[in-house]
Symmetry: C2
Subunit: 435 residues, 2 copies
Amino acid sequence: MSTIIEPKILKGFRDFLPATEIERKRVIRLLENTFEGYGFVPIDTPVLEYSEVLLGKGSGETDKQMYRFLDNGKRDVALRFDLTIPFARFMAKNRSQLYLPFKRYHINKVWRGENTQKGRYREFTQCDFDIVGTDCASADFEILMMMRRSLGALEVPGCTISLNHRGIFNRFLDVMGLKHQSEDILRTVDKLSKIGREEVFLQLSTVSDADKAGKILDFIQKEDSFTETLSKIESLAGGPAEDTLRLKEIYSYIQELGLEEAFELNPSITRGLDYYTGIVFETFLDDLPSIGSVCSGGRYNNLAGLYTKESLPGVGSSIGLDRLMAGLAELGRSTEKNSHTQLLILNMENSLVGYYHRLAEEFREAGFYCEVYHEPKKFAVQIKFAEAKGIPLVLICGSNEKEAGTVNLKNLKTRESFEGLIPEDALIKAGEIIV
Amino acid sequence: MSTIIEPKILKGFRDFLPATEIERKRVIRLLENTFEGYGFVPIDTPVLEYSEVLLGKGSGETDKQMYRFLDNGKRDVALRFDLTIPFARFMAKNRSQLYLPFKRYHINKVWRGENTQKGRYREFTQCDFDIVGTDCASADFEILMMMRRSLGALEVPGCTISLNHRGIFNRFLDVMGLKHQSEDILRTVDKLSKIGREEVFLQLSTVSDADKAGKILDFIQKEDSFTETLSKIESLAGGPAEDTLRLKEIYSYIQELGLEEAFELNPSITRGLDYYTGIVFETFLDDLPSIGSVCSGGRYNNLAGLYTKESLPGVGSSIGLDRLMAGLAELGRSTEKNSHTQLLILNMENSLVGYYHRLAEEFREAGFYCEVYHEPKKFAVQIKFAEAKGIPLVLICGSNEKEAGTVNLKNLKTRESFEGLIPEDALIKAGEIIV
């Protein structure tokens, strides 16, 4: 082959180099462990599905963004563009093998042929978790608490989960005689953090009138505490009902767990035109609100209505993993690790390679991440390799040391060296240096 | 919506239900931990690439199997059908950010529109690991040893890694004057385990003649030990050379590590027409040889020649994860787990739900996987839920217990109960039951 093919990748797609992929795996494992600690189970679904299944009711926008084509068998297929529709299809297809309530998590890639902007990709990772088959405050609360713990596990600094209930907003609009404008109003209110109060007021005024626009702005204004806000919106919505009772129940659990600081009731949270029917929530990073909500969701009254007659109410949330990881990086909260290797055994004499591999196995058995430098290259070359991989410790051993049963350990950060017997001294010293 | 869309999935594609996905994640984590222990780093690449990049030289077969289409921007794109070509493209594209030797692993899905047969899927998972940028016995050995440790970590029962060297076979064919028939001969020999000696003899006889066919059969017959086999093929191939020296070096490391039992030299292993130029290897399960090699690979002299002028020699291996997992299941060596949950807190009184969530947090903080039953359903319904998820232990607590600061723990396997104080007694007892 003499012609070289340009090794280019598609716009909106990325290679994940080791440091990024190590961090992604770290984050994903922390999330998985958290979810599993709450009884959530993992599932996976095909990347490719029948277009008919993915389109569902079909909105023009989704259709345009889908990677859709005819496969070699002339089937109309597409890459999944979210994890919600495949989950709905999954529940309908596998219902007989599943119990309720069913709590699943699903972390995987999805594809949308969107315009690529800063931080927007055509291939990106979603992390969804839902409880279906029950409609109760306990399930709502569990999703909220697990969100909180997930963000805690990732050491996300300063963030508050903003909670609201769609039902209260709807009742309020009803009281105001604005039921039929509710779509426009929800859409407008949803833009509050982006366009500001004044612009929202202007837009609401054209949908209704200035007086009502003012009342809506008053409604969506949060008060000093969860309970004060709840009292206000309950009263403006016509008094207590199931929706306010649900929020009170959830808040009583929040109090029981001492998590008041983590949550606020924010009546401006509507989740736009999404299919939610109960609680809705969003999470912004205090120091980086501009990147938008990193974790949001809500309660819906029927997950899989497109595919089955069984009604499956549920509550769920989604973490935008790429967005969250970009945020953590910007806040200096990512770990930057080029490898897991803790110890590199240098190749000082090629005739000792077998011995080096044996030493490496001893370190591995003692729990170390360890590798052998394969070729007898110059010392400086081997050290440069260690530095490129971020390996903190090298082991130096020639024939003399081998005969004496000793090794030299060198800490590449402090440049300190230590000579010790194999294995006891060396293992202890390596442990001290790495910790 | 009144019309129901049939929730069907594409032929050759699968949903992964919790038990399967839990097992997949378990296996993948064990592999990742093993790889990382040897200094291998993870990467990921786009699912979708330019068809031109994936096709490379392009063989008709691959082309037909590719999921290839024009995207909305009229780009000719395709789903990756293996992890090797994306890795080659990755190395060429990102070379300036990487050091050598580069040791990467990549575990992810690939797509081929093949005919679906028993155990063959159109969406399946590959697990590749390679060392590129060095050509030496130490790297060859590391791949072999890591394969062994990976299979050990998965508790794969009874398997042997069969090793060979392409160079020796090629020299032997040269000595025999069969250089120009080598493709046909390699392809035929590769079918030995499938079609048997007699059929291989017949086919070889038509490629050359009966006398030479007999000599080839003698060459590929393994002897009683690694060294005896090596002596024989070295002599038949015209004496010592770099290839036999390489095998001797590798075998000296195998001996140094005491791994003789794990490897055999098997001159019938050729890896067909693959692009290997050095050692080649395959792994069959002793009790299930019919499923084919579960882990195979070899050394190649140039990974990324299609995309860059830099020559990158390497050695690598691939675990067929679906095949291996099917094999483990058939041998009764998979774990069957419907969830990770260890403890279910029953909902005995709905007014105590907040307290139940608080108890659950205490158990989680102590390291337990724990969940709360959300609704105050009948006792039998809640127990059935625990059984469906394979939860071994339930916690029973009503108002009286709450006041007394006690709980009842019930072991669902033995049906034994235990009453204890919260948290000390309960945590200790729960730990005893779960272990």
